[in-house]
């Protein structure tokens, strides 16, 4: 069991890196607290596998340190770090029984057979593998095999963390949620740091209490699923989380707020003050399709928009609107009337975000 700390960590696969483009991981500081359930989420090529390999010890970082409970482990192998890993494809000893598979790490440590037996029985029960203990591992289904891989990490008392690398890839869709539930239960039962790597927002948000979203070699936000949805701190998080993602519109600073085309959006004074002094070259506003207010008739200071497209998804619809030539998506519930031709929309201040060079401008102090 361990806290994992990344200090001034960066990695380049080239020998003499020059520009930031040479780095698969750009310099980052990060702490995975002991006992947390975490996810590392990002598209392919974002650097998440590089980071995972550095934590596990398969790769030594070119810059900075990895610390387990305050001790630098840069040069230690995965075994020496006591890291357990669960990969995309289950790793089991095919010819051994499930019992022997689970007992393997314990017997390696020289535990006496009575302890081995009680430990294996305990883990088999947690994982619902009790009925399969005498079966050969090769006769198991993919989800059972994956549970055996997990079980081998869980039986050891000295494991410092379990790392999952897209562990549900080969599991049948209708069994996936059961395994997700099992993973969550296990985390709540055992006080072990777990890090789950995936490109899938559902896997990440279901498993983790906190998610690190990676983009272009950086962690652009570390937050709860709710924070990623409600307050994306980077435009990439707004785009990547949610289907469809956040509406992002380029704007210019204007007296009292920002604007685009013929639309003016007022902003709080603190943000105005920030705008007056920022060196940022690109300003965008962001609002999620779920949070745009829409009616069929004019209201308050609503903006008039043209209805371009309606995607009927059965129990809700995604409308595409044109607001002064700018495309915008709005989610509309099943019981709502679909406006014909024109609609009036407004952006509640609470849900309207401002981004300067892709980073959220915080309105608070």
């Amino acid at each position: 069991m361990a806290e994992i700390r990344l200090q001034h960590l960066a990695h380049s696969y080239t020998r003499n890196p020059g520009s930031v483009d040479d780095y698969a991981l750009r310099e980052l500081e990060h702490v995975w607290a002991q006992g947390g359930a975490y996810a590392l989420l990002g598209p392919s090529g974002c650097g998440k596998s590089t980071l995972l390999n550095i934590i596990s010890g398969l790769l030594s970082p070119s810059h900075g340190q990895v610390l387990f409970d305050g001790k630098v482990v840069n040069e230690l192998s995965p075994q020496a770090r006591n890291i357990a890993q669960v990969f995309q494809f289950p790793v089991v000893y095919d010819t051994m029984s499930v019992f022997d598979n689970l007992a393997f790490p314990l017997r390696n440590q020289g535990l006496d057979e009575a302890r081995v037996r009680s430990k294996v029985a305990e883990i088999a029960e947690v994982l619902d593998l009790g009925a399969t203990l005498n079966k050969k591992a090769r006769n198991l289904s993919a989800d059972e095999k994956q549970k055996v891989s997990m079980g081998r990490g869980l039986v050891r008392d000295d494991v410092s963390a379990i790392l999952f690398d897209e562990p549900l890839t080969v599991i049948d869709p209708h069994l996936k949620w059961k395994l997700r539930r099992k993973l969550k239960q296990i985390h709540e039962q055992f006080n072990i740091t777990m890090i789950y790597v995936t490109h899938d927002q559902l896997e990440a948000s279901t498993f983790a209490d906190k998610i690190a979203v990676m983009y272009a070699g950086q962690i652009v936000q570390f937050g709860t699923p709710r924070e990623l949805f409600e307050r994306p701190r980077h435009t990439f998080v707004g785009y990547f989380i949610g289907s469809p993602g956040m509406n992002l519109i380029d704007v210019q600073a204007q007296p009292g707020g920002v604007g685009f085309a013929g639309v003016h959006l007022p902003l709080p004074e603190v943000v105005q003050a920030y705008l007056a002094s920022t060196p940022a070259t690109r300003l965008q506003v962001g609002i999620r399709p779920e949070f745009v207010q829409l009616r069929e008739a004019p209201f308050d200071d609503a903006h008039q928009a043209r209805v371009v497209d309606v995607e009927d998804l059965g129990t809700y619809r995604i409308l595409t609107l044109a607001l002064d030539g700018v495309a915008l998506k709005v989610r509309l519930g099943e019981d709502r009337v679909i406006p014909q031709g024109q609609a009036w929309i407004s952006f509640p201040a609470q849900w309207l975000m401002l981004y300067a060079d892709d980073v959220l401008v915080e309105a608070g102090p």
Partner: protein, 364 residues
């Protein structure tokens, strides 16, 4: 051009791959084949294309019998799951290949390739080789090749399945725009109910080689004729609860009783299966006819902007589909509310007795 299948069947090694399928597609229509893996989607498309010959039945194009006519003599294009391109030819030549085969003149080829590439947003990559492109761009190249030659019938066999969900979102929407202005028949196979809904047009549900239901997508979704159709066209799966109607009362699993609303009163006494869509159940009461259930959270699956909540009690296992992010610990006790006017009712043979009538539209 129109396409008609008349009582088409095909067996391979005594296994029935397609059983007595009759379908008709209008010119300029977009048609989805929806079904699980091995339900017969690909087999049916191969029969439409002329890649396979049916054992029984006829295939008609524009009313003309083309049953025995091989694919080469039909004006058909196909796009597959795997990104299939000629690896040694440039993107330009990949897209141009059907036109070269048709011996079109060079100037016309140039014009058509550029026009199609522009539509699919791959014009900047025309001189590259397919393998130098991203997965999404490779699949756009394969699509451009299928679209460039003005085929009368274009078949898509799960074309987006190997792309990540952000790309899928984008391409799905482009497909709708692409086909809005064309006159060919598009047939699109998918395993995902939500993809069928997003694409619109018509939907044909397939199961074990048989057509379960076919019609306008929204109609098939809102009026499934059988339990099977409702189950196959629902993601997450529709909740099914066994119950009985007697007198003025409905009871679920002999344990939960509620008074009937006006819609249910028309149905006679007896045993029924009740269906309720995951998106219709809520965490707060919203109607006067809501049925309140005390349950435990099995798992909250969060998908960025929405939550699939698995709950259970001693009688039921239910899934809710909620907008927004709802975080719960496993085994948290909560209450859920089922609007009884949103219930589907099926008889013991699985036939639809009643679909929820759309109440007067309300503005929230």
């Amino acid at each position: 051009m129109s396409l008609t299948l008349e009582h088409v069947s095909r067996s391979v090694d005594n296994q029935r791959w397609i059983v007595d399928a009759s379908l008709s597609f209008e010119p300029g229509s977009f048609n989805v084949l929806l079904g699980r893996t091995l339900s017969g989607k690909t087999s049916l498309m191969r029969l439409m294309a002329g890649l396979d010959r049916p054992d029984q039945g006829r295939v008609l194009m524009n009313g003309e019998d083309v049953t025995g006519r091989p694919v080469r003599q039909r004006n058909v294009s196909m796009v597959y799951q795997q990104f299939i391109n000629y690896p040694t030819l440039s993107v330009f030549e990949n897209i141009a290949s059907p036109l070269r085969q048709a011996r079109m003149n060079e100037q016309e080829i140039r014009q058509k390739v550029h026009q199609t590439a522009q539509m699919l947003r791959i014009e900047p990559f025309l001189q590259r080789l397919p393998l130098e492109l991203s997965g999404g761009q490779q699949q756009r190249t394969a699509m451009a090749r299928a679209l460039v030659k003005d085929a009368e019938l274009i078949l898509f066999d799960e074309p987006l399945v190997n792309l990540d969900y952000k790309l899928r979102e984008e391409l799905r929407q482009e497909m709708r725009a692409l086909f809005a202005s064309r006159h060919c028949i598009a047939v699109y196979a998918t395993t995902e109910p939500n993809e069928a809904l997003a694409l619109g047009g018509t939907t044909t549900i397939l199961h074990e080689g048989c057509i379960v239901q076919s019609g306008a997508t929204a109609q098939v979704y809102h009026q499934p004729r059988t339990v099977l159709a409702a189950e196959l066209f629902s993601e997450p799966p529709i909740n099914l609860i066994d119950g009985r109607i007697s007198g003025n009362e409905v009871s679920f699993a002999g344990a939960v009783h509620f008074a009937m609303n006006a819609d249910l009163r028309r149905i006679g006494d007896g045993e029924y299966r009740f269906g309720v869509r995951p998106s219709h159940i809520s965490l707060v009461p919203s109607n006067d006819d809501d049925l309140e259930l005390a349950v435990l959270v099995e798992l909250a699956e969060i998908s960025g902007s929405e939550t699939f909540l698995h709950v259970r009690n001693e009688h039921f296992r239910i899934i809710l589909h909620l907008p927004g992010v709802h975080e719960y610990h496993v085994d948290t006790p909560i209450r859920v509310f089922i609007p009884t006017h949103k219930l589907f009712v099926f008889d013991s043979a699985g036939q639809l007795v009643q679909a929820p009538g759309a109440r007067e539209a309300r503005i929230a």
